[in-house]
Symmetry: C2
Subunit: 388 residues, 2 copies
């Protein structure tokens, strides 16, 4: 097992009828800015319910945070915070709204050009850099990114997606009410299942370090997703299936799975370029890249792929190569069973675009990816060719 630090102070309030908790966790005298996305939370009445719970507190709203939240949008919320003396933020939405709100809180009292905050990558932004933030809570509407219980965000600016990490960006609380997610379009639920699945595989399909309980938590999430994936898409109001998805999505990226193990975020990094260049949904990019990457990297990931084949897919017979191939095939079939296509060509992207994608990876410094730092641009090209 590798050395690790684990810290996660977010209060989780999970289950039905939890909106009332907002009243307990938001200071009674706070001036609140509610942040949200494209308007579905507004239309379906969730924002109004939240405002009712907030009661006499002074409340402002900031809607329009887009999927893959953009710097240019978020800085407008910073102005409101400064002008109206906002002292609590409440993000009502999915990962994009929550990620965006994390950036807003970090930028609110940053002295200088807040685009600076996009330059830190995976290096955490500390209180030496950002001296003051606005506390925030979340009401999660989409189980997928895990942003509701971690301190990371991904922010889009011009043609890039930029990771932003900071212990100052943990939500104070997150309300996880599975019923709130019942109205989601099926494709968003499918993307959420895949995002959760790949968050886990990126922390699990690496190389073994004898981290037995971390492996079993990872395998437990994967098995649960395989069991409930199709059901929670087909039966939107099946509480138990959705509750299992919501909690798996949160656990997948709250630090527990990745504690003390190597991590490989290459799939996400390559996927980010596909979203930035072609607007493909994040979950879909992961469904495209994952099987191809596992095929190309099957030697480096051999031991863990065999464990994955056995424990997650219960593949017991055949040569080691056959077991690994079958496990990757089953992974692809699982994504497709959720209604998500797994080939670039199915999204209208031809092989002629591969050099453009590789160029973007190069431009963003993604030249030494993976758990071993040896996934070069040539290997990324190979992965993209496999993903056609």
């Amino acid at each position: 097992m590798l050395n690790f630090d684990f810290y996660n102070p977010t209060h989780i309030l999970f289950g039905t009828d939890r909106l009332e908790s907002i009243d307990k966790y938001v200071p009674a005298d706070a001036t609140v800015l509610i942040t949200y996305g494209g308007g579905s939370a507004k239309k379906n009445g969730l924002i109004d319910k939240v405002k009712t719970v907030l009661g006499n507190r002074k409340v402002y709203e900031f809607g329009g945070i887009e999927p893959n939240p953009r710097y240019e949008t978020l800085v407008k919320a910073v102005e409101i915070i400064r002008n109206e003396n906002i002292d609590f933020l409440l993000a009502v939405g999915g990962g994009s709204v929550i990620d965006g709100t994390k950036f807003i809180t970090l930028a609110s009292f940053y002295d200088g050009d807040s685009r600076d905050l996009l330059k830190y990558g995976f290096m955490p932004i500390t209180s030496d850099v950002v001296k003051k933030t606005v506390p925030f809570g979340t009401v999660l509407t989409l189980p997928a990114t895990g942003s509701e219980m971690n301190s990371g965000a991904v922010i889009s600016y011009e043609h890039g997606k930029y990771p932003v990490m900071s212990e100052l960006a943990f939500p104070k609380f997150s309300i996880l009410d599975p019923t709130v997610t019942f109205t989601l379009p099926k494709i968003q639920v499918a993307n959420g299942v895949i995002d959760t699945f790949v968050h886990v595989t990126e922390q699990y399909l690496t190389y073994p370090v004898d981290a037995r309980i971390q492996d079993r938590i990872a395998e437990g999430i994967l098995q649960t997703l395989i069991e409930i994936g199709e059901t929670t898409i087909a039966e939107s109001d099946n509480y138990d299936a959705r509750a299992n998805l919501v909690w798996c999505a949160t656990l997948a990226l709250n630090g527990v799975v990745g504690a003390g193990v190597p991590q490989d975020w290459a799939t996400h990094m390559i996927g980010h370029e596909l979203t930035a260049l072609f607007g493909i949904d994040h979950g879909q990019t992961l469904a495209i890249v994952t099987p191809a990457l596992l095929e190309v990297r099957s030697e480096q990931k051999r031991a863990k792929l065999l464990q994955y084949a056995q424990r997650v897919w219960h593949i017991e017979s055949g040569s080691e190569e056959k077991k690994i191939d079958l496990a990757i095939q089953k992974t692809r079939e699982f994504f497709e069973s959720l209604g998500v296509k797994t080939h670039l060509s199915q999204y209208g992207i031809g092989a002629d675009k591969i050099p453009v994608i590789v160029e973007q990876l190069k431009a963003h410094g993604m030249t030494a990816l993976s758990e071993t730092g040896d996934l070069t641009l040539d290997i990324s090209r190979n992965i993209l060719e496999r993903a056609m």
Copy 2:
């Protein structure tokens, strides 16, 4: 899945050579009281190492916190805190030292007779009751209780053991260095494996609520303990085995396993009386009570016992009764394989003592135990008879 709240703000600093972190997490101008137990941490040089890291900070020591820490001992530390203006506590020890330190911090600025704090049971003590506490960190020397990453304690007073729960009692940080535990006597490691195992079964062997990932985390910890239990006792300095035990012990009782599922603490409650009356080690009491309780409660726990038989012990054939019997038998054999006896009579306790034990349960209000609240004194008597 049941509704739940999850909150755990303790920083975990896991791995080799982590003592240096103390310097980062203890304020530079703090006056520190180091709390410890019977002296092994003093003798083996750990306290000195900790003091070296604390550098120029003013440091006091309070040793002698006994296993099953006693109120009468702990109040003496409260006097030191008040007299010397201590503003940080550092618990160096196992669950008893950490539990004791939690009580010390809660009692330090409590207005009134601090025995009041023993009366809350499983009802959390809030900041309305305890208005100020002394922050504390821990250096864990014994993987067992999980106290290093939760907000609970068990305190002994006169002839009883009293649970104390408070969000004010989370450690600020806990240093989990598996090598620090290499010098432990084998029996203490065995007790720690069993304590961890039973923390999990008390949150897992209840009734099903379709909490799939919680079940799999529970099963993952149990399987890991079964795999590494004998090894980590036999090979004291096997880092990987011990690291897996340490992290399992922490995860078993940090709230993750019990989130959203029913919990049955009857084994612990009955075990506490055996410790209080006869001085049997906590881990040993659990090894005595667990198999007997599972036998007596096999109807109530039927569905989860079958799942346990299949997923943890890989029992695939035979009638349901046979599978359950075999799973309980294997549990008993596992405890015995660690060198821990599982029958009361093996500890010199005869059947004539059963009425005394039942009387103590009655005196402490333990008349409606278990996840369903229907484990009466008669059933406890039956369990104790089975445990002879």
